[in-house]
Symmetry: C2
Subunit: 460 residues, 2 copies
Amino acid sequence: MNREDLLFCVRTLSLSRDAAGFAHLVRHTHPSDLIEAFEVLGTEEVLALLMTLDAPERAGLFAHFADARQDMLVRAMPREAVVQLFEHMPSDDRADLFNRLGEDAKQKLLPALAKVERDDILKLAAYPEGTVGSVTTSDYAYVSPQMTVAEALAHIRATAPDKETIYAVYVLDDGFALRGTVSLRDLVLAEENALIGQIMRRDPVFARAQWPRTQAAELIRHYDLLALPVVNGGEKMVGIVTVDDAMDIEKEQDATQLARFGGTASIGGPDLDMLASPFRQMFGVRVFWLMILTFFGMITSTFVAAQEELLSQAIVLAAFIAPIVDMGGNTGSQSATLVIRAMALGEVKLSWRDIFLVIRRELPVAAALGITIAVLEAVLAYFSKGVGLDVLMVVGLSMLVCTALGGIIGALLPFAARRIGTDPATLSSPLITSVMDLIGVFIYFGFAYAFLGDLLRHAG
Amino acid sequence: MNREDLLFCVRTLSLSRDAAGFAHLVRHTHPSDLIEAFEVLGTEEVLALLMTLDAPERAGLFAHFADARQDMLVRAMPREAVVQLFEHMPSDDRADLFNRLGEDAKQKLLPALAKVERDDILKLAAYPEGTVGSVTTSDYAYVSPQMTVAEALAHIRATAPDKETIYAVYVLDDGFALRGTVSLRDLVLAEENALIGQIMRRDPVFARAQWPRTQAAELIRHYDLLALPVVNGGEKMVGIVTVDDAMDIEKEQDATQLARFGGTASIGGPDLDMLASPFRQMFGVRVFWLMILTFFGMITSTFVAAQEELLSQAIVLAAFIAPIVDMGGNTGSQSATLVIRAMALGEVKLSWRDIFLVIRRELPVAAALGITIAVLEAVLAYFSKGVGLDVLMVVGLSMLVCTALGGIIGALLPFAARRIGTDPATLSSPLITSVMDLIGVFIYFGFAYAFLGDLLRHAG
């Protein structure tokens, strides 16, 4: 069903309260599409439709809603339905939902749950936001090394409905320590009587629950995994991170990195979100960076103002300050983002060898760019303002140096950022530009005094 | 085995030519780790080790090498080994390798292959770089609707070794048209005698071979798929795109988007790569954008130069040009990247409703930022340069307008880009800054004439 038809269908079902029709739609539509269609309905309408489903189906669909929508639905839901939600939702999604409840609601909820669920929720919910533990699901398939392949398959068949995935199967000993992994493909192709302990792959890739969740996503991408086992400090298996969650994690990380490069890196707090961040946070983070940039600009303008004498003798110099110092930031942005990209794709690492390789690449390019742009700017300056040769030399030479130097510095900044352990994108484009502005005015007026300094002597 | 041990092991095996030891290592080490370790060896050394493996193992490992390394190995390999490579490599990787061969090598290779392989390679290699077809593998599992579950499982077991994945199984009719999908999980849990045609899911999500490959990756992420079926114009199934390739596609797309936002968007050609792009391309793309920025800067500086009279009466005005006009670009960078991020995460779409939501969010923030920064700049200006009230008004008001306007314009630019069908990141940070520079000088001198215009009358 295409998008418009689905929207129409959902609206009609909402108005007619057609429970059977809605249940049929749910069974034949992908949850992601349903959630999109629901955006046009209000919370009460969505709730009315959800309550026509049985508890397991309702929980399965509920888990796909965005966090904000989930919170609104939970507040409007009768208490018994909320308990059912926590009984049937996937373990990673319900741990997240639990963490967003108020203290009061949490205390009321826990006694109503069975011990097994209560323990599971508390265990997963204890992991801080942003860690591997916070995106871990405990709904994984496991077998013991002593089982035969046939026994393992029977066990998987019996327990499958509650598992997030049965394609990656984990071999645990009695202490729940991870001994190895075996794929469903391995099981289906193996001899029925073979022992799991013999066919399993040992030394599996794993993640620790306290690692950043982006590390889990990177491991999944690097090793082409469908799921990654997560262990805790006691080497016991906690759960798994699945590849679909890894894709979402990486998408959010990369999208946020772009925003950080635009100058919105959050210091210690959650990342900025255009629609969701509260005003205080949005204003606070952005004004912090703008103030830093203002101070940089203040230093630059103070310096320029101090050249009052020279400027008053050659007013035309003022016209070129901005275009010339900007070019350093432009070239620097180019090289910085190219290096960050190379780092993200694993082509460049923090090592002297790679720093050398990058500089060896950038040096001739930056020089060629500098010469080209300097000539262009000088030509434009001559034909548009008819400036004298002195000024042309100042303009040309400072443009050359600013452009080339900007490229080199820009290429080195990501390495510097990595060295101090921060995301290179935190050195944002505006920051690079402001730093290059400051360096640029020194270069510009340096050349200005060299070529036009005599103006002062003659005038004075 | 950790990284240092693996490196040591690989080096030792290379020197000792220990074939059995190497084969053992290959069987117990993840290909991704082996490829990393091989980086320290030269092409000849790697080739020597590879030739100790049997053909299928060699081809499997070979497929993990980066393109450049693959090309060097193929050139050094005996012809018979190259043919074996094409016989045993995964179908998507060998189609890519084929496309990188010279015409001569292609013509020599094709007759040596069996017809089935030849047809498969030519079919997949025909898809242009960047399309879904170019990342499609024809090694997928399929069954017919008339089969029983037991027959289907037996068929899958028999054909599994050659398949990229057996977890997603495609139901095709005699004409190779896609009728539905069934997962291995479904098969393992279903009744043995049930008919595939009855248990399969109809109307599967699919991609067309000519679509951009990023669209396939997005579908995989949106629908949490393990694989996505690909059909051609005749509605026949061509192959599948797997989730691990989708993760790599999205990683490259996002990393490249960041570089594009830094001002390196390629016009029609391949994306720039710091280490791999030839000098001509690297210089050509970057100088193109820098020239555009130079022209923008020329217009800006021409305008500033034309204000010579006013500047000569109030030299201090020159000092504030850069910091004030830069702030428009800074705030614009912030809001533009926040909107691009929201678009990437699906929170914001190209619609009037979302444009309105974004502006409604940005307006108060931009205004608050403008007021704060304007006051800050005015205070700094007063205490550092002791400027008069007139100049303070000019500085404060133009800073306020530049900052706030920059935020608004920056927030709207991604929508404009999407409207004309281009990636928002093409409107790079340097471009945003240059546009805001131009707007900024108009605003600045507008206020300057308003408050200081009488200076001209008195002086003149």
